[in-house]
Amino acid sequence: MELGLDVSEHGTATVLAVKGEVDVYTAPRLRERLVELVNQGKRSIVIDLEGVEFLDSTGLGVLVGGLKRLRTNDGELSLVCTQHRILRVFEITGLTKVFAIHDSVDAATAVPK
């Protein structure tokens, strides 16, 4: 099962579009990519989860780790997600209060920094 990780620039924001299933097998690749982006100096990162078919707590853990890494570097991480099955995982764990979750990449990248 391959995890798609496509990076694109939208103004001052970097968008990481994730496709596929995020679990204990694939989450390490997502973590590596996020760390690379932060190490490259990216400070405004949007993770687009619209192509994600499945996400469990291992994936959530990577996103929490990414948010922490960015905040300690004066950056910000936000998410794009409209799929109710994926949103449900954030809701159950209370993480909807921790992450800024947007309806579209445009909405996420339009947020004043």
């Binding site: 679990d23 097998y25 469990d56 853990g61 780790g65 995982v89 159950i92 209370g94 209060k97 921790v98």
Partner: protein, 162 residues
């Protein structure tokens, strides 16, 4: 790899190597079985699949952390009012009550916790979960209550009337 259980009622048993690349297979088997039975709505099937993924992740990590070669076992049972999945590992016995509590989500300290979300998720996603730890391993038994199994003859009778 999969076989029908003898002596414990109708059921299916699957053993997977305790490695991350097999977790997708466990999810696929459970969601395919649940879909084929047509006893749970799609969102509930997804909840069960997610709970199985969480339990398998814990089992795989326990085996990996202790260099245990044994496979992780998945058991599937069907009852008149339920579908059940049990995930069994060969670890030293996991006590879910020993999990550290997370700070509230509004506390900045919350970001220091990347793990420990799986058990709360399982508890919310399935109708019932029992953790049965022993020195030989832990069994996580998850239950989804649902309507009775579809009677194939009743389906045929319905079609004949249409």
């Amino acid at each position: 790899m999969a076989r029908v259980l003898d002596g414990t009622g109708p059921g299916i048993e699957l053993e997977i190597p305790a490695r991350p690349e097999y977790i997708g297979l466990a999810r696929l088997v459970v969601s395919s079985l649940a879909s084929s039975r047509r006893r749970l709505a799609d969102d509930r099937i997804h909840d069960l699949k997610l709970a199985v993924s969480e339990a398998c992740t814990n089992a795989i990590e326990v085996h990996a952390g202790l260099d245990i070669d044994e496979r992780v076992r998945l058991r599937w049972f069907e009852g008149d009012d339920r579908l059940e999945v049990a995930i069994e590992d060969c670890g030293p016995g996991f006590d879910p009550s020993a999990l550290p509590a997370h700070p509230p989500v509004t506390d900045p300290e919350r970001l220091n916790f990347e793990r420990g979300l799986g058990i709360p998720l399982i508890r919310t996603l399935v109708d019932r979960v029992d953790f049965a730890p022993s020195s030989a391993g832990t069994s996580v038994r998850m239950v989804m209550y649902c309507g009775p199994a579809n009677d194939p003859e009743a389906d045929l009778a319905d079609e004949a009337q249409d």
